[in-house]
Amino acid sequence: MRADDILHPTEAGLYCPPGDFHIDPIRPVARALITHGHGDHARAGHGAVLATRQTLEIMAIRYGADFAGQRQVAEGAIRVGDTTVSFHPAGHILGSAQIAVQPDSGPRIVVSGDYCRRANPVCAPFQPVPCDVFVTEATFGLPVFRHPDPADEMARLLASMAEFPDRPHLIGAYALGKAQRVIALARQAGIDGPIAIHGALQRLSDYHVEQGIALGPLIPATAADVPAQLVIAPPSAFASAWVQRFRDPVIGFASGWMQVRARARQRGVELPLVISDHVDWPQVTATIRELAPAEVWITHGAEEGLMRWCALEGIPSRPLRLVGYEDEPE
């Protein structure tokens, strides 16, 4: 069986005919295998969902307990149709996994989903899984993306808070994963006092704490007067009237895109923090070298850059041009 017959893009997303399932489908399907809980990968309304326990629980928080007809926790090797699948940590957000698809005969394909190789206090580290075909994202698939140590970025946040002690610092961070990571990084950087969070982060942050991830004292950023200098909110909140309660805030944004000034300017950000839950260029290229797959498939992002690199390295690659995945989902 050729790799194409095992997995290929369709309008609903990546489809596996021998297993009769989709991976991270963007529209309702009979059986979905889901890598992680971000809204553009994990959607409600499928017949059956197979995912890690944490991803299932995150989906239940976001969509309600009945988000799919059947829910199955991925543990160990699982038979699905004429394939065996297994889930492996991806290091992206809490519960995130790569999915290895092994047909009864034919090449082994690993769909990495969104992944990151840098240590992250809110999730398990990426686990390299040997494979014939490695399916990778290329969100930051250009050599300009070399994300700095997040501790250095937190040092910049602390310096700004010290330089402008009278101004609240509002940091935009996506509600699932990035927000909790920024909070955990702030704790590592020595911020012990209360951190205020926007209401949209409350349930997901509570869930992280239930899973044993210490986030320290969090207070709601809903009162007229919020007694915390550091406030975390989803970026969309900065367009809402919610911001008006803060006097002369410093607006920041934690994202891998902040490495490029023009992108930070478009966001109207005063304090860009380069903190990413995706592989940057050195990580994605090192991962491909480490796994040494026979072929690389690229799901979405800056595929031209990564394809060029693969060509220079002599590794066959092809773009899947999957649509429906955002650059960095909310």
Binding site: P143, V144, L170, P249, R261
Partner: protein, 516 residues
């Protein structure tokens, strides 16, 4: 250079003036000499270094990065220096003193420059690489004027801004004597020829306030809509300064050449064609140029209209009463026809002056200046001796079209408003205003924008036509860059016309008729 790189980055993303000042002041306080002086010069554009060309930088990359990956990267980043700073491969991140980087760029010969730049980049982490490359290409673009730099300096110690402006042009990077003075040391000797001297400024006035004064105590002249300048010829050294001490001589070589007197005079810089004075729009075309083309010199000739003398033929006249200084001025002759004297206005009563102000002989007059006859020439803005009585602003009723979110104290509020007027059946944007309203009015405007949004473009919202704004402005220029063909000067929202139907807003023809 690590701290300098951090400063550049913060300044580039910080829109608020006061926050910029604080960032700069903290940097200058924490950074040793001579690095802080070099940084100051870099920010104010006073650091004269060999300009590194984009071609040289591209050549460095050609040896190091695949051409296709470089092209994709540059296309994404959009800025050559930034692309290279991000792409450069090195494991080192030394904190190289800024003066070392400056010395490298100032002293390395052309042949050795590419290798020297590469060696320096090999020593630096990404943010320092960007700072170094910005230094090398001479393009800081962090929105900090020389004036703001001097304000930050003034906040560091006792000398105030006027004190610093007065000696600024005798100083050169890295400004050690200046920093010593600010720290409590001796004032630097003004060694330079033709130094800038603090300008005497006026305060606004109206007819009711004037009635308290005896018109006989005052002189009046037209208020010209040009640029206030201090023109100096000090034993052959010629300088043309703005009222904040910027030397703009490079932009006006025709006028500098005409300064064939001995003294320091106070007057208005204007574009003049024969006896006619052109509008501010014409003068604006001459501003900010490092060199001026022959064609521009011919089509937009600069002139000077003098209204006061500070120094004249070796004498400092500043302590004399205005009437005596004016007598010396009236007796002076300026050989060059580019220079003439601003005439005094004849008036016996304030109502006479009001009549003159209401009907000036030229569109380039923006009101009248009223000065006490016995006033000495005092730098700064003393209250009383000099008044400006500006003509009433022009106003137009326009329709709110777009709103953009503000920064800092206005975070979360739609506070920058683009408005338009009718051109046939459509509304064309004619300007943008972000002040003139109270905090309460801002809340009401913000609410209106949120409730009437029809489209979103990033931080900008398009608003359904439904609100008329009375916009006041100081003048109107023809503009090829604006779709409407007009550009407003100093527009602000003077009233919110909740009562007025959109259909009754003004038309573009009305605006065009206001262009001088």
């Amino acid at each position: 250079m690590r701290a300098f790189a951090h400063l550049l980055e913060r300044l580039a993303f910080t829109p608020a003036r006061n926050a910029k000042l604080r960032l700069l002041r903290h940097y200058l306080q924490a950074t040793p000499d001579p690095d802080r002086g070099h940084a100051l010069a870099a920010l104010t554009g006073d650091l004269k270094l060999r300009a590194v060309t984009p071609g040289l930088l591209r050549g460095l990359m050609a040896d190091r990065v695949d051409a296709q990956l470089f092209a994709l990267s540059y296309d994404f980043v959009g800025d050559l220096a930034e692309t290279i700073a991000l792409l450069w491969q090195t494991d080192r991140d030394e904190d190289v003193p800024l003066h070392q980087a400056v010395a490298l760029l100032a002293q390395t010969g052309k042949a050795g420059l590419p290798a020297a730049i590469a060696t320096m980049l090999d020593r630096l982490g990404p943010s320092q690489r960007l700072a170094f490359l910005k230094l090398a290409t001479g393009n800081m673009r962090v929105g900090l004027s020389a004036r703001m730099a001097r304000i930050a300096l003034a906040e560091m110690g006792d000398p105030d801004v006027a004190d610093i402006e007065e000696i600024w042009h005798g100083l050169s990077p890295p400004y050690q004597p200046l920093f010593d003075w600010i720290a409590g040391g001796a004032r630097p000797e003004q060694a330079a020829r033709a130094p800038f001297r603090p300008v005497m400024l006026s305060t606004p006035v109206d007819l009711d306030q004037l009635r308290a004064f005896d018109p006989g105590d005052y002189m009046a002249e037209w208020k010209w809509d040009g640029i206030r300048v201090q023109a100096i010829n000090d034993a052959g050294t010629r300088r043309l300064y703005t009222r904040t001490g910027e030397d703009i001589g490079d932009s006006f070589p025709d006028l500098v050449e005409a300064l064939d007197f001995e003294g320091a005079v106070d007057g208005e810089l204007l574009v003049r064609r024969g006896d006619a004075v052109a509008g501010f729009g014409d003068l604006q075309k001459r501003l900010g140029r490092k060199s001026v083309s022959r064609a521009m010199l011919d089509s937009h000739p600069a002139g000077l209209r003098v209204y006061d003398l500070m120094l004249w033929q070796g004498r400092d006249l500043r302590g004399l009463p205005l009437a005596q200084r004016r007598a010396v001025l009236d007796a002076a002759t300026f050989e060059n026809p580019r220079i003439d004297i601003s005439p005094l206005l004849e008036f016996a009563t304030w109502d006479d002056l009001a009549a003159l102000r209401a009907d000036p002989p030229a569109a380039v007059i923006e009101g009248v200046m009223i000065k006490r006859r016995d006033s000495a020439y005092v730098g700064g803005r003393p209250r009383g001796p000099w008044f400006k009585w500006k003509r009433d602003p022009m106003v137009v009723d326009a329709v709110l079209l777009y709103a953009q979110r503000g920064h800092g104290k206005r975070s979360g509020f739609y506070s920058d408003f683009t408005f338009g007027v009718w051109d046939g059946e459509t509304l064309v944007p004619v300007g943008k205003a972000y002040f003139g309203f109270t905090d309460d009015e801002l809340r009401e405007l913000d609410r209106f924008v949120r409730q009437n949004t029809v489209d979103r473009f990033g931080p900008v919202r398009a608003v359904a036509p439904g609100l008329v704004l009375e916009v006041a402005f100081e003048g109107l220029n023809a503009s090829a860059r604006h779709k409407s063909g007009v550009a407003m000067r100093f527009p602000r929202i003077s009233r919110i016309r909740w009562d007025k139907p959109v259909a009754e807003a003004d038309r573009l023809d009305t605006l065009k008729a206001m262009i001088p």
